[in-house]
C-alpha cells in the first residue's frame, strides 16, 4: 500500500500500528531516516495544533520566542519539566478543592477538553479516589492519572484514553507477535501481581493493555481485586515530606481518610486469601496458557519468588510475553532475579523496556544486545544536564533524557526526565533494529547526587505501608 507522506504522519500520530500495517516485523524494521522524517513532520503538526491553544504552552512559547519548528531541536526550550504537572498549591487537595485543580488542569490542555473539565461538577468529591472516579465517568475520553513525589505533591497527567490505547496496540504487536491485521487472537491471559485498579499511571497502563491484549475482562487476573487508593498513596507522600521537614506533628488527617483506612484494614486482612487464590488460579487456570504479564521488575520478581516457593515452575506457555518496565529505580536488583522470573513463568526471554509515566507512548524495548531502542512514537533528545540545551544528534551523547510524545493528543507531549542516558545516534545496533537507541545503564540524576526524590512505582508498596502504619498510630 502506498501512502502519501501526509497520510503516514497522520497514522504515526493517530494510529501508529496502522503505519506498520499491524506487523511487528514492519514496525521494528522501519528505516531510521524515514522515522526521523516522519517524527519531524509529526512534531510540526502537533506544534501547529497546540501552540496557540494550550495556555501554558503559549505562555512558554511566547516567552521563549518560539514561533515555528524547523528542526527537532527548535522544540527543546518548550519541553516541560516534571514540575509543570504539580505546580498547583498542595492545599487545594487538603481542602478537596477539585474545582480549582480542574481550573489549573484546564491550562495544560486543549480548549475543548478544558471546557469539558470545567463543566464537571467536582464540588462533592471527598478525595482523590472520588475525584478520579468522577472525572472518568464524566469525561470518558480522558484518562487522568498521577505520579507521586516525596515533596508531598502529586503530579497530575491529563492523558487520553486513546493515548493509552495506541501505546497498548504497539505493545500488542510484540505480545501477539503480529504479522498483519488478521493475526489470530492468541486468547492471552494476564497475571498481574498487584491491584486490579487504580489511578497511578502504571495501573492505568495495565488496564489499557488488558483491554487491548485480552479477549475479555475475565482473562485479567489481579492479585488483589481492589483499587489502590490514591488518597492513601498521597498520604504516604505527604508523610515523607513532613518527616523531612520536621512537621509531622502538625499533619492534619481528614476523617474521610481515617474511614478509608478502616476499609483498607479489612482488605488487608483478606490479602493472604487473595494471594492464595491468585496463585491457585495461576497454577490451575493459567497453567500452560499464553500469558501477558508486565510490571516493574520487583513486582514480577516477587511473584516469581512466591510462586517458586509454592513449587510452581514453568507455569505458562513458552510463548508467553513477560515484560518489565522502568529501571531499577534506586533499588539494587538481586542477583539472578531474571532467571527466577523466567524459571517461574517458563519463558525463554524477558522483554525489558524503558518507559515513564509522563511519556505514555514511549516504551523503549531492550534488544538482545542490551540496548533500548526508541519507540517511533516519541522523539528522543539528549540535553546538557546543566543547561538543558540539546546535545548534537550525532555520534554518542550522554546527558539528560527528554522526549516529545507524539501520541499525546490533549496536552503538550514535551517532557524532560530526571534520567541520564547515553544515546548512539549513528552506529546501527548489531541486533539489526535500525532505530536510534540507548546504550549502557540508565541512571537517575537524583540517585547520582545521592537519594531519589520520587516515590516510583517500585516504591509504592513502601509508601502505602508507611501511610497505613501512620494511620494506625492515629487511631489508637
Amino acid at each position: 500500500m502506498t501512502r502519501t507522506r501526509e497520510e503516514q504522519v497522520e497514522l504515526l500520530l493517530t494510529d501508529p500500528v496502522g503505519l506498520a500495517d499491524h506487523s511487528l516485523q514492519c514496525w521494528v524494521q522501519m528505516p531510521r531516516a524515514e522515522v526521523d522524517e516522519l517524527q519531524l513532520a509529526g512534531l510540526k503538526r502537533r506544534f501547529a495544533e497546540m501552540r496557540e491553544r494550550i495556555p501554558v504552552l503559549k505562555k512558554l512559547a511566547d516567552a521563549e520566542g518560539v514561533e515555528c519548528v524547523e528542526r527537532l531541536d527548535d522544540v527543546v526550550p518548550l519541553l516541560f519539566e516534571h514540575t509543570m504537572f504539580k505546580s498547583y498549591p498542595p492545599s487545594l487537595l487538603e481542602k478537596n478543592n477539585f474545582a480549582a485543580i480542574n481550573k489549573w488542569l484546564g491550562k495544560l490542555v486543549t480548549p475543548e477538553l478544558a471546557e469539558q473539565i470545567a463543566a464537571v461538577d467536582v464540588s462533592a468529591c471527598k478525595g482523590l479516589d472520588d475525584w478520579f472516579e468522577t472525572m472518568d465517568r464524566e469525561i470518558p475520553e480522558l484518562c487522568l492519572c498521577h505520579t507521586s513525589g516525596t515533596s508531598g505533591t502529586l503530579s497530575f497527567l491529563p492523558c487520553g484514553v486513546r493515548e493509552f490505547e495506541k501505546a497498548a496496540q504497539v505493545r500488542r504487536l510484540h505480545a501477539w507477535n503480529m504479522t498483519g491485521p488478521d493475526t489470530p487472537d492468541p486468547q492471552m491471559h494476564t497475571a498481574y501481581p498487584y491491584y486490579a485498579k487504580g489511578y497511578l499511571s502504571h495501573l492505568r497502563g495495565t488496564a489499557a493493555l488488558a483491554r487491548t491484549l485480552l479477549p475479555d475482562p475475565s482473562h485479567f487476573h489481579a492479585a488483589y481485586p481492589t483499587t489502590l487508593s490514591s488518597d492513601v498513596l498521597h498520604l504516604g507522600a505527604k508523610l515523607r515530606a513532613a518527616q523531612a521537614k520536621g512537621t509531622l506533628d502538625r499533619l492534619v488527617i481528614a476523617p474521610e481518610l481515617l474511614a478509608k483506612k478502616k476499609a483498607f484494614d479489612r482488605q488487608q486482612a483478606d490479602m493472604p486469601q487473595h494471594l492464595a487464590a491468585f496463585f491457585d488460579e495461576i497454577a490451575n487456570r493459567l497453567k500452560g496458557k499464553r500469558v501477558y504479564a508486565s510490571g516493574t521488575w520487583n513486582l514480577l520478581h516477587n511473584m516469581a519468588k512466591a510462586g517458586l516457593e509454592l513449587g510452581l515452575e514453568g507455569v505458562f506457555h513458552p510463548d508467553s510475553f513477560i515484560s518489565t518496565t522502568g529501571g531499577a529505580k534506586g533499588v539494587v536488583q538481586p542477583e539472578g532475579w531474571r532467571e527466577e522470573v523466567m524459571r517461574f513463568t517458563g519463558v525463554q526471554e524477558l522483554h525489558e523496556s524503558y518507559a515513564m509515566s509522563e511519556v505514555v507512548s514511549g516504551s523503549h524495548m531492550r534488544c538482545a544486545e542490551g540496548n533500548y531502542h526508541f519507540a517511533h512514537t516519541v522523539i528522543p533528545f539528549v540535553l546538557d544536564p546543566e543547561t538543558s540545551r540539546p546535545l548534537p544528534r550525532q555520534g554518542r551523547q550522554t546527558g539528560r533524557a527528554a522526549f516529545y510524545d507524539l501520541g499525546a493528543e490533549f496536552h503538550w507531549g514535551g517532557f524532560i526526565t530526571g534520567d541520564e542516558i547515553t544515546v548512539e545516534w549513528e552506529q546501527p545496533c548489531t541486533c539489526g533494529n535500525p532505530s536510534h537507541y540507548v546504550v549502557g545503564a540508565i541512571q537517575r540524576y537524583s540517585e547520582k547526587n545521592g537519594g531519589d526524590d520520587k516515590i516510583t512505582c517500585a516504591a509504592t508498596e513502601q509508601s502505602h505501608r508507611e501511610a497505613m502504619d501512620f494511620l494506625n498510630t492515629l487511631e489508637g
Binding site: M84, K86, P89, T153, G246, P385, I416
Partner: protein, 485 residues
C-alpha cells in the same frame, strides 16, 4: 595540567608525600593531597596526656598568639591565603568577590576583645584558667574546671570563616583539633595552619592542629579513626546525609556535637507597610538576609511570612514589596552577594513552572539565574520551599501575626523579624515551634561568636567539665555515717 596540592598538616608538620588526586565538588577542581590512609596512625593525638603542654599557657598567652596570628592573616600580605583564595574560586559554592571578601575579613575575627567576649559569655574565662570554687549547701567545697578534649571537626564548606572559627574555639579550650576539610573548601584551614607553622612552629597551639582531607564517608579510614581511644568529641557541621553518616560511629566515650542542617525564615509585620520608607527599609534588610553569601548559609532567609493582608489590596502590597526586595537584592554589595555561580537546575524547573501560571504565585526575576522572589498569592508557601537556594525566596502573605508560626519548624535556625516592635510578641513563642536564633531583619548573616548556636552552646559542649568535691565529716555529712535501718 598540574593540579594544585593541598598538603596534609599534622601538628606542625607539612606533608606533601604519597599524593593522590581528589576531584573537587561537581568535578570542577581536582587537587592532589597526601593519601590520608597512609597517615592514619599519626592523625590522632594518641595519649590524652599530651594535651598537658597547652596547660602551660595562660588565657592571655593564647590571646597573644591569636592577635599575632591575626596580624599574619592580613590578606594582602599572606601568600598562603592568597593562593587558597584563588583556588577556592573554583571550589566554593559562592563567587569570587564573596570568597575574596571572606578571606579579607579573616583577620578581624582574631581581636583580643572579640575572643574574650566570646569566651566570657559562653564559658567564662575563669573556668578555662583554673578551678572555680564554690561552697554548696551541705558544706561541700566544689571546684569546676573546663578542660580541652581531643576533637575531630568536620567543617562545613559554605563559608570561609568557619575554619578559622573552629581553630579559635580549639585554641581557647586548649583542645587538640583534627580538621577534616570539606571538598568545597579544602584550602582555607590549611592556609591558616601553614601560617601558624611559619609563625610559631613549636608553639603548643600550632602543635595541636591537624588539617587533612579525605573523602567524607571513607569507612575504612573513619572506622579506624573515630574511636574513643583516639577522640573524645566530634563536631560535625553539615547536611543531613553527612550528619547521619557520622552518627554510626558514635558510641560511649565518643560524643557528637552536631551543627545540623538548618533553614531560616523571616517575619515581616504589617507596620513595614506604614510608609514607603519603611517598605524600602524592610526590603533592603530582607534582601540582605536572602542574598548574603548567595543564600548558601543556613542563616539565610528562604521562606518569608509577610503581614501584608491576603485581600486584593494586600496582595498588591505584597507584590510591590517583592519587587522592592528583588531590586534591593540586585543592589547588594558584591562582597556579600552576587548573581549565583550556577542556578540550581531542579529549583529552576519549579520556579519556571510557576512563572507560566500566575494565578497562585507571582515570580519576580530569575530568568537569567540571578535569583528570584516568588510572591505567593495565597497564604501558603510554595510546595518546593525546602529547595529554595541561589537567592530565591518565597514571600507568603498572611493577615495575622499568629499565622506566621508556620514559618518555623524543627529545622529552623534563624528568624529575622521586622519591625523590632513585634519581636516581643514573637520571641517567647517562636522557640516553641523550633526557632533557634532571632535577629533583627537584615542581620541574619551577622553570626555572633558570643551567642549560642543551633540551640546549643557549642563551646561549652566542646569542653570537658570536671568537678572536684572537697569534703570531710566535720563539714559535710558523710555517707558512711548514715544510720542502719
Amino acid at each position: 595540567m598540574t593540579h594544585p596540592i593541598a598538603p596534609l598538616v599534622i601538628r606542625g608538620e607539612v606533608i606533601t608525600d604519597n599524593l593522590i588526586e581528589v576531584g573537587g565538588r561537581g568535578g570542577d577542581l581536582a587537587f592532589l593531597t597526601p593519601d590520608a590512609h597512609q597517615y592514619i596512625d599519626r592523625l590522632p593525638l594518641g595519649n590524652p596526656a599530651k594535651l598537658a603542654d597547652l596547660y602551660a599557657l595562660s588565657f592571655e598567652d593564647i590571646l597573644d598568639y591569636c592577635v599575632a596570628l591575626g596580624e599574619r592573616l592580613e590578606f594582602s600580605k599572606n601568600a598562603y591565603l592568597q593562593e587558597a583564595c584563588e583556588l577556592s574560586y573554583r571550589t566554593a559554592p559562592t563567587t569570587p568577590t564573596i570568597v575574596r571578601a571572606s578571606y579579607m575579613g579573616l583577620q578581624h575575627l582574631l581581636s583580643r576583645e572579640l575572643i574574650t567576649e566570646m569566651v566570657e559569655s559562653t564559658v567564662g574565662v575563669k573556668y578555662l584558667e583554673g578551678w572555680v570554687p564554690q561552697t554548696l549547701l551541705d558544706g561541700t567545697e566544689l571546684e569546676v574546671r573546663c578542660f580541652g578534649a581531643r576533637t575531630l571537626h568536620i567543617v562545613a564548606g559554605n563559608a570561609v570563616a568557619l575554619s578559622l572559627w573552629t581553630i579559635v574555639r580549639n585554641m581557647v579550650l586548649r583542645s587538640d583539633a583534627i580538621i577534616k576539610a570539606p571538598s568545597n573548601d579544602p584550602f582555607t584551614a590549611l592556609a591558616i595552619a601553614r601560617t601558624m607553622i611559619d609563625m610559631a612552629p613549636d608553639h603548643p597551639l600550632t602543635r595541636h592542629l591537624t588539617v587533612a582531607y579525605w573523602k567524607g564517608g571513607d569507612q575504612a579510614l573513619e572506622q579506624r579513626l573515630y574511636q574513643p581511644q583516639n577522640l573524645e568529641k566530634i563536631v560535625a557541621w553539615g547536611g543531613f546525609a553527612s550528619i547521619k553518616h557520622v552518627t554510626r560511629y558514635i558510641q560511649p566515650g565518643l560524643e557528637l556535637i552536631s551543627l545540623d542542617p538548618k533553614r531560616s525564615a523571616s517575619i515581616i509585620g504589617k507596620d513595614a507597610f506604614a510608609n514607603e520608607a519603611s517598605m524600602r527599609d524592610a526590603a533592603v534588610r530582607l534582601a540582605s538576609d536572602i542574598g548574603a553569601i548567595n543564600q548558601k548559609g543556613c542563616v539565610c532567609a528562604r521562606t518569608v511570612y509577610v503581614q501584608s493582608g491576603t485581600d486584593e489590596e494586600g496582595l498588591e502590597r505584597l507584590n510591590a514589596f517583592g519587587r522592592y526586595v528583588y531590586d534591593a537584592m540586585l543592589g547588594l554589595p558584591n562582597s556579600l552577594s552576587t548573581a549565583p555561580r550556577s542556578y540550581d537546575r531542579n529549583l529552576k524547573a519549579h520556579v519556571d513552572a510557576l512563572r507560566l501560571d500566575d494565578e497562585w504565585y507571582r515570580v519576580i526575576g530569575g530568568q537569567d539565574g540571578e535569583g528570584a522572589i516568588i510572591c505567593s498569592q495565597i497564604p501558603e508557601p510554595v510546595p518546593f520551599a525546602t529547595l529554595l537556594d541561589d537567592r530565591t525566596a518565597n514571600l507568603v502573605p498572611v493577615d495575622e501575626l499568629s499565622e506566621m508560626l508556620d514559618a518555623v519548624d524543627a529545622y529552623t535556625q534563624t528568624v529575622g523579624v521586622y519591625p523590632e516592635s513585634i519581636k516581643d510578641q514573637l520571641k517567647d513563642v517562636l522557640p516553641l515551634y523550633g526557632a533557634q536564633r532571632i535577629v533583627s531583619l537584615g542581620y541574619a548573616a551577622a553570626m555572633k561568636f558570643a551567642a549560642p548556636q543551633d540551640a546549643i552552646e557549642p563551646l561549652r559542649r566542646m569542653g570537658k567539665w570536671i568537678s572536684n568535691q572537697i569534703a570531710s565529716p566535720e563539714t559535710t555529712p558523710a555517707p558512711w555515717l548514715r544510720p542502719s535501718l
